[in-house]
């Protein structure tokens, strides 16, 4: 349908039924919003491109020693040349086709990785995994801008994160995979440009998810110690992630994955901090040798600054309560100096409040998903605390039954409420 309409545009223009501006707007409306068959074609092109690309990697990884060197070299370059040809053709003939752009870019990204692997193999080029992934990231990077593909962006972010991880395990203590910061910074303009052009598309949702995961995971590869400082740094970063949707008021950009990643991190840390040993120096703090103090402090200071600035736009606990995780954890940290037990109690109360918040939101919005999420948090806090104590199995069993009954009752109640309305 949209393709027919686009094909008719010159005729409508010629007959004076629409103005050139209207034609441009119609073209822009349908160019990036594939419907029905178009969406299916995009999906198959993307999966096809990826599968063929991954297949090429598997085939070349076999090491075809029986073939002469020149033949193997030619084989290594063929997929890259094919990928370049597909993208060149698509840019010249089908500049509006997302299917060609995404499928071609996914295939070329895989072909480039396979090419470097095969050349390394044929010529016995040395280098560790970190070096290989860095080279691949740099080669895939331009595809984020030309032709500007979501699939290439996801592959790039996975490669860059892989590089940081490989560097973490391969490098000596003193070295950090700093290049990953340059790689992530190089992807940022592409992310912003895609937000402006296709901010409400599914592709952008995935781009947001990979950006959040990539930044979150890569930063962990800079840190060596597992101590309270690191946890506070992670809380600060997660809190900043959950504030990302507030950076574009009035624009329908799909940045929810930032909240998803940040919220999940905060929830995991809050559960960890609900144990008393977490706040005691003889427990968790022992592994902290102070090597990452600078990085952790930088994250905490950045997190606090962003949180305070955000209060100009949003009220505390507005839309979701995750950003407040940072002030709560910092307050608990201060409290833990006086009494680790008190800090753990506050975290447990915060978790219970979080559960109640989502149960109430779920009931207010008629959302079973939100309500059950809240119930799960509340139930888990109660269960964990009962596990800590030396109560008999009978009492523990009764608690299980009570929580299960609570779940069933609340779900039935909400479903009846929905039925009445």
């Amino acid at each position: 349908m949209s393709r027919d309409l686009l094909r008719e545009l010159p005729v409508l223009l010629h007959e004076g039924l629409i103005t050139p501006e209207q034609a441009e707007r119609i073209k822009a409306r349908y160019a990036d919003a594939p419907e029905g068959g178009g969406r299916m074609m995009l999906f198959t092109a993307l999966i096809g491109g990826l599968l063929v690309g991954l297949g090429v990697i598997l085939v070349v990884a076999h090491n075809w020693d029986d073939l002469p060197r020149w033949m193997r070299t030619l084989l290594a370059f063929l997929p890259v040349l094919a990928g370049i040809a597909v993208i060149t053709w698509a840019m010249a003939r089908r500049p509006d086709s997302m299917a060609w752009r995404e499928g071609g870019a996914a295939f070329l990204a895989c072909a480039l990785c396979a090419n470097i692997a095969l050349i390394s193999q044929i010529y016995h080029v040395d280098g560790d995994m970190a070096g290989y992934l860095l080279t691949c990231s740099l080669l895939v990077l331009p595809l984020l801008y030309l032709p500007g593909s979501f699939a290439a962006a996801l592959i790039f972010l996975a490669l860059a994160t892989g590089y940081a991880g490989a560097g973490f395990f391969a490098f000596e203590d003193a070295r950090r995979p700093f290049q990953v910061l340059v790689l992530l910074a190089a992807a940022a303009p592409a992310y912003l440009s895609q937000a402006r052009q296709r901010g409400n598309s599914t592709g952008f949702w995935w781009f947001s998810l990979f950006m959040a995961l990539s930044i979150g995971i890569s930063i962990q590869f800079f840190l060596r110690d597992w101590g309270l400082g690191r946890v506070l740094g992670m809380v600060a970063m997660a809190s900043m992630f959950t504030l990302v949707p507030w950076t574009h008021p009035g624009r329908e950009w799909r940045t929810a994955p930032w909240v998803l990643v940040g919220g999940a991190t905060l929830l995991w840390i809050l559960f960890l901090a609900s144990y008393r040993f977490f706040w005691q120096s003889q427990g968790f703090l022992l592994t902290d040798q102070g090597r990452d103090m600078g990085a952790n402090w930088a994250l905490v200071v950045a997190g606090c600054t962003v949180y305070v600035l955000s209060l100009r736009q949003r009220g505390a606990f507005e839309r979701w309560p995750w950003p407040e995780g940072l002030p709560i954890m910092l307050a608990c940290y201060a409290l833990s100096m006086a009494s680790p037990m008190l800090a753990a109690v506050v975290v447990n109360l915060a978790l219970l409040a979080l559960g109640v918040y989502y149960v109430r939101s779920g009931i207010a919005d008629g959302s079973l998903r939100l309500m059950n999420f809240g119930l799960a948090i509340t139930g888990l806090v109660i269960l964990l605390r009962f596990m800590d104590t030396n109560l008999s199995y009978v009492v523990r069993g009764l608690v299980f039954i009570a929580i299960g009954a609570g779940f069933l009752f609340m779900n039935l109640r909400l479903m009846r409420q929905r039925g009445r309305s």
Binding site: A61, D65, L118, D126, L146, P147, E172
Partner: protein
């Protein structure tokens, strides 16, 4: 305009592997041959396939290098090379500055304290030889110390044939008991 820019980018993408190949070929044609006694282990690379990781005899020993920091991460130095009376490669010295004459390679050196002694470890810039699928384990079995071959004479002596040119090195072949590894693998396949 966008298309022209894309073609430029595509050319740059192709230039990277071509440059890797050119570097390799230059060393292969102009480089001096060194034989590094070695023992292999059999790792795998999920992307680049099977290879044997090589540990060289020439890397063993304690080293001294003028101006080398005592602690911190690995430092890049120049390792000067020569042949021993049997024709195998040896490192004759390390320096922070490029040697004025004689063959050398860029190597990594790291120091650590063993009791009161400061010990340096040298890492040569080449340590892998790619093989066909399934041959890594067999190569390791063929060369590893402790393996008894059919005549009961123990492990076979092995070495890597390495070309060295202007500080860069390329592994050209892996020899076991005087014969290329591919010959051994070919015989086993038959």
């Amino acid at each position: 305009m966008k298309l022209k820019l894309w073609l430029l980018v595509a050319a740059a993408m192709l230039a990277v592997p071509i440059w890797m190949m050119y570097n390799h070929e230059e060393v292969r044609h102009a480089g001096e041959v060194f034989l590094f006694k070695t023992a292999p282990i059999d790792p795998r690379d999920p992307f680049r396939g099977e290879y044997v990781s090589l540990a060289f005899e020439a890397e063993r020993g304690s080293w001294f290098c003028e101006g080398l920091p005592e602690t911190g991460g690995p430092t890049e130095v120049y390792a000067q090379l020569d042949h021993d009376p049997e024709g195998f490669a040896v490192i004759t010295g390390l320096s922070m500055d490029k040697p004025a004459s004689g063959p050398y390679v860029r190597a990594k050196v790291q120091g650590w304290r063993s009791g009161s002694d400061l010990v340096y470890r040298v890492e040569l810039p080449f340590d892998r030889y790619y093989l066909q699928e399934g041959q890594g384990r067999r190569t390791e079995e063929l060369m590893m110390p402790g393996r008894r071959n059919e005549t009961g004479t123990g492990p076979k002596e092995s070495w890597a044939v390495v070309r060295v040119h202007k500080g860069r090195a390329v592994v050209e072949d892996l020899m076991v008991d005087g014969r290329p590894i591919k010959e051994w693998m070919g015989e086993e396949d038959e």
